[in-house]
């Protein structure tokens, strides 16, 4: 791929301000449209989350952005370079942490990282200091001489994050960085990611199907069936639903439900001894509820909408249901089954 030095050295001015720029990106596998024309842009320094059930097209999109899969249509620029035309330039500027481990178990932690430093052309005189820096960050410097096969799942993931940062990428892609880890390790990984954002001037693009993790992102795109159904900050997304959930316990739940309907015009439902309903500005509504509801209230709980509610709102189902139906689809579709085996 011969490219003139000027072209390789300077990305076009307009796109250099944007870390990731995606336009009508598509990917088909045979008849199956995995990604159906998505567009988004991520600013430098942003932590951007891709939220969706398994099989929604998250991994395919990330693979296209990482130049591992060639798009069927549309364009994508990462760190100012086209993912198809300037593959090598994109690769130099991105760090990757995949769902499945990509470490060599028979090499030590340090050897794995040195291998990476050589592959990515990290200047030799900087390898040692950079190695220490990233391994300290994930707390593995003391274990650098140990073979990776002696590491736990969480340690391997941390090492992969360190490796992904070794060549000082502009954009770090994390594909399901915490999948398959226990809750404590998951929260550790997130601590590292937060630490990383403080220390390095880096854009993070991650996928997850954990709602609570998506909350850590500056902005989220909700992807379902290969299309982006919503894209905004977690707060704005939750705000866009516009209603809080209120749960009350009363002396007489049946009467409460009918009063809510007749007096306030609210639909409510009873479950496990409490009555639940949705209302805009929940906290402002509570005083009114106490004043106007004739039945004595024993307890009140006001909950902000969660990303689960957001997902439900945009896709008409919870992420759990979506996962279940995807799994079924994958089990019955021989093409998907064959692919998922690899």
């Amino acid at each position: 791929m011969p490219a003139s030095p000027t072209k390789t050295a300077t990305p076009t001015t307009r796109q250099s301000d944007i870390a990731v720029e995606v336009n009508a990106l598509k990917k088909n596998y045979g008849d199956l449209a995995a990604v159906k024309g998505i567009s988004l842009s991520v600013a430098p320094g942003e932590t951007f989350g891709f939220l969706g059930p398994n099989g929604a097209g998250k991994s395919t999109t990330i693979k296209m952005l990482c130049t591992l899969v060639i798009p069927s249509g549309g364009t994508a620029h990462v760190a100012g370079f086209d993912v198809v035309k300037d593959r090598t330039e994109v690769r130099r500027r991105i760090g990757l942490v995949f769902q499945d481990t990509t470490l060599d178990d028979y090499l030590t932690a340090e050897e794995n990282l040195r291998f990476h430093a050589d592959l990515y052309g990290v200047p030799r005189q900087q390898v040692r200091s950079r190695l220490e820096q990233v391994m300290e960050m994930v707390g593995l410097w003391e274990r650098r001489k140990n073979e990776v096969k002696t590491f736990s799942g969480g340690m391997k993931r941390r090492l992969e994050i360190a490796r992904g940062l070794l060549h000082a990428p502009r954009v770090l892609f994390l594909d399901e960085p915490t999948v398959g880890l226990d809750p404590q390790t998951r929260s550790h990984i997130w601590n590292y990611i937060h630490e990383l954002r403080k220390q390095e001037d880096i854009t993070i693009f991650l996928t997850t199907h954990y709602m609570d993790e998506a909350e850590n992102c500056d902005r989220i795109a909700i992807i379902d069936n290969g299309t982006i159904v919503a894209l905004d900050t977690p707060e704005a997304l939750k705000g866009s639903i516009g209603k809080d959930r209120i749960e009350i316990q009363t002396d007489n739940n049946k009467d409460a439900i009918s009063v809510l309907k007749d007096h306030f015009g609210l639909d409510s439902s009873e479950s496990e001894g409490s009555v639940a309903f949705h209302v805009p500005g929940g906290e402002q509504f509570v005083p009114r509820l106490f004043a106007e509801l004739s039945i004595p209230i024993k307890s009140v709980r006001v909950a902000r909408p969660t990303l689960d509610d957001v997902f439900m709102n945009y896709t008409g189902r919870t992420i759990r249901d979506a996962e279940a139906s995807t799994t079924e689809r994958m089990a019955t579709n021989p093409w998907m089954r064959a692919r998922s085996r690899r």
């Binding site: 090598t88 178990d105 990515y120 052309g121 200047p123 820096q133 000082a168």
Partner: protein, 294 residues
């Protein structure tokens, strides 16, 4: 680890533009050498594998070699069958080690490490070349361990002979690794490795003249042995050994013949040239296969 120092490291770390513009070839070379080095580290670290890989050649050389001695013609000439077998066993060691090393690509794919290499900003061709060089080095080293046994089977420790054998083994190892990498590109599952061993490696070994001389064979077998590329690797090694020991010309003709094509003797240089050519062609095929994106 204060924030300020980290930031300054980050700044100074920005990859120099000049290097990006001009250092492409050096990057590829560095990528190639690190893949080669990984093969070596994995080989040296796995001592159990080195020892286990010695079992088969030793069984063939000393058990089969000794056991068959009374019934093979060489015995009547007062010639040790094990000496005849020795170059064949060198070939076998190289064949199995190189193939195993090459097909480890399938494991790399299965366990994900392949992806680490495929997304790197270096040419895939440099990775494939590094892999072939690594496999060839490892197989030659394993063969060198067998050379240590030469004295036990009547092969002299002559420096010229040892260097000749090492060079011929290295060439063979390169060819076999290139073949293995080409095959590995087509294998998607670890289980298929058995097929490779049964359908490729064993026939190559038995047809190569490693265990019997390629003279006075029935037509069908003669043809098959001439198709087997490994034949052209065993013959030069055997003639090198026979040149260093005293044998009668008639015995030399029976036991260490040049390979013939319809009566025409293939010269030594051409035998080695064929191996090199096959290796280069297979390497090119492997490069093309691995350069293809998903």
């Amino acid at each position: 680890m204060s924030t300020t120092t980290s930031t300054s490291v980050q700044r100074s770390f920005e990859i120099p533009q000049s290097r990006i513009a001009g250092g492409r070839f050096r990057d590829d070379l560095r990528g190639m050498s690190v893949v080669w080095r990984r093969e070596l580290i994995r080989f040296i670290r796995n001592r159990v594998r080195i020892v286990v890989a010695l079992v088969q050649p030793i069984l063939f050389l000393f058990v089969l070699g000794t056991g068959l001695s009374p019934i093979v013609k060489t015995g009547s000439h007062g010639f040790d069958f094990k000496t005849f077998l020795f170059p064949g066993i060198l070939g076998m060691t190289v064949l199995f080690t190189a193939m195993f090393s090459a097909v480890s690509i399938v494991w790399d794919r299965e366990f994900g490490f392949m992806r680490e290499m495929l997304v790197a900003p270096v040419r895939r061709s440099s990775l494939v070349v590094g892999k072939c060089a690594g496999g060839a080095t490892v197989a030659t080293l394993q063969g060198a361990i067998i050379i240590v046994l030469a004295g036990l089977v009547g092969v002299p420790y002559s420096p010229v002979l040892i260097i000749t054998l090492l060079a011929e083994m290295a060439l063979t190892a390169f060819g076999v690794t290139a073949l293995g990498v080409t095959v590995a590109a087509r294998i998607s599952q670890v289980e298929s490795f058995q097929f490779v061993m049964q359908l490729l490696v064993l026939p190559m070994f038995f047809l190569s003249g490693a265990v019997f001389p390629l003279t006075d064979l029935p037509q069908w077998l003669a043809v098959l042995t001439r198709i087997d590329p490994l034949s052209y690797a065993i013959a030069p090694m055997r003639s090198a050994i026979f040149e260093h020991i005293k044998v009668s010309p008639s015995l030399l003709k029976t036991l260490a013949p040049s390979i013939t094509w319809d009566g025409w003797k293939v010269p030594l240089g051409m035998e080695l040239g064929l191996i090199a050519l096959a290796g280069i062609i297979l390497l090119l095929v492997a490069v093309i296969q691995f350069s293809r994106p998903e």
